[in-house]
């Protein structure tokens, strides 16, 4: 069967401790001994058993990534970034998806715990401030991505939602637009991404001396392409007048774009459109989409690094940190100056 530490030790004529030392790169092993052990490892094709290692060390070198779903390109690109960042620290990533309800989200959290991961990155969706106590039960290091839970005892890495929405909106206003739709609001929400982005939208209008027209604030519950398309269809059917759209993510922007173009609306001549996320596909729509680059790979990098510091204990006594990453407006063809 597969070789164990004992087999290697026997073959090399040393104790298992010495083999372990070689495998784990402990410094004080004589060169001759090391070579003998390595030869035995090669010969026997020995691979350390991870389960035994984990049982003894209490570490799995795996972290969880808990996200809504990879069909949403934002999370697919985030997962890519997280996996690359984790690999740089020697960690693998186990992804848990959840559906758009609280129970599914809680089940994903419990699943992470059950698997004995070293820690989790969690992109909050349905859970709110009242659920903060539940997070403490996860029982392992956790770094939050996104906005939903405002006060919590956990590290938190996110983008500057409000400032970015303000800049996106100001960009449309600067080109003379005055009837700008906010597409993607979640009525009643304050601390989530939708709430924060709406605040930025309102701030930009205020600063430009333009009154906020509630009719222009259009709710979109989920933020997939189909939802943006449906919402825009309803807007156009209602006869609402507008000359700009700040979509709260790129998927709904692209769904809305398709519907507007299909109805013969010229973008950006008649309507300017700006999104959020800088998905790869926004470069290939026609017109290419102006959008906010939210610093997603930076978010992934910082979040993984902070999680690893919690896992290793390097950040043991640190207060929970909130890290805000820089964003950038990426001007393409769907808006004008």
């Amino acid at each position: 069967m597969t070789a164990t530490l004992h087999d290697v030790a026997r073959a090399a004529g040393v104790s298992i401790k010495t083999v372990s030392n070689v495998i784990n790169n402990y410094p004080h092993v004589r060169d001759a001994t090391r070579e003998r052990v390595e030869a035995a490892i090669d010969e026997l094709q020995y691979r350390p058993n991870q389960a035994a290692r984990s049982l003894r060390s209490g570490r799995t070198d795996m972290i969880g990534l808990i996200v809504p779903d990879l069909r949403n390109p934002y999370f697919a690109e985030l997962a890519d970034d997280v996996m690359r960042a984790a690999r740089a620290h020697g960690f693998s990533v186990l992804i848990e998806q959840f559906d758009a309800d609280r129970d599914s989200e809680l089940a994903a959290l419990r699943g992470a715990r059950r698997r004995g991961l070293d820690g989790v990155l969690y992109s909050v969706l349905s859970l709110g401030e009242d659920d903060a106590p539940l997070l403490d039960e996860v029982g392992m290091p956790m770094v939050l991505l996104g906005e939903r839970i405002f006060h919590s005892a956990h590290d938190h890495v996110t983008m500057r939602n409000t400032e970015a929405a303000r800049e996106a909106t100001a960009h449309l206003l600067a080109s003379g637009r005055r009837r700008v739709i906010a597409l993607g609001s979640h009525p009643g929400e304050i601390v989530g991404s939708a709430g924060l982005r709406l605040r930025g939208y309102e701030t930009a209008l205020d600063e430009a001396g333009v009154a906020v027209d509630p009719a222009l604030v259009v709710p979109v519950d989920r933020w997939h392409r189909v939802d943006g398309a449906d919402a825009m269809r309803a807007v156009l059917d209602s006869g609402l007048e507008f000359d700009g759209v700040v979509a709260f993510n790129d998927s709904i922007a692209l769904g809305a774009m398709r519907v507007m173009l299909e109805r013969g609306i010229r973008i950006p001549d008649e309507v300017s459109l700006v999104g959020f996320d800088d998905l790869d596909e926004t470069r290939y729509s026609l017109p290419a989409l102006t959008t906010i680059d939210p610093g997603r790979s930076e978010i992934a990098r910082v979040a993984v690094e902070q999680l690893v510091r919690r896992i290793t204990g390097d950040a043991a006594d640190e207060e929970p940190r909130e890290v805000l990453v820089d964003f950038r407006l990426v001007e393409r063809e769907s808006t004008t100056r």
Copy 2:
């Protein structure tokens, strides 16, 4: 610290074997005993230690998914499908990405082995038939997705590449197109997706009595949007005449579409365009893209099921299976009848 089996046994006044029986749902436990044990579990908030469990049982209940990268929407959607299918069997999924070179691909395979997974799903990209021996060294159940390795000792689940490409091409020919580009070939490749799809393209031309013009067979190395866009730009700059495009996946189709529209080419009036994969975003381009639904979630479902059967031993003595899943041409706006 965290409770162990012994703590629960002590609290419930039974042996650890009985607690284990309760946790693993063994049938022969008296109801009263079971209740006492469950009460103790709740009280102590006991969670089984996965590492210990795996060490003893030799199972981790995790499978690997080895794919090029999740930035490619096809693999993101595949990963989603695989995770859902795996969950239905009680498995979690650990995703390993690799870059477009052999070494990176081999490293991903080795990584899967190192992690002590129960099995892997592997979407072959760079490895070829000569590498088949390397696959045997993986040392765990493995099911292959995609086409690259033709003969191998492993199960293999894939779409009907040749037939689908034939149908896509025939669809363009039926509407009167005669100068149809094959966009995405890999010169010299025979057993990979590109080779098989090219064969289907040629077959359809033959059947329609149209000669294959080598100038219309356009290589595209990687199959991302940017590559499709670059290739189409080169085609247009070259002055090549054509009235149809069979793109070998949706990403290059969408990249090419963007470039054609930008140059003022009307789709489908002047050029008909068909893709492969039925990505969600193909519904939202303008025109919406006609494409091949490759049966991706069925591929995921069947592949996971077969892998699980290998892991549990239910398929122990079975010969390696090749499963071909049904496809479907999805007609949208980028082609005409």
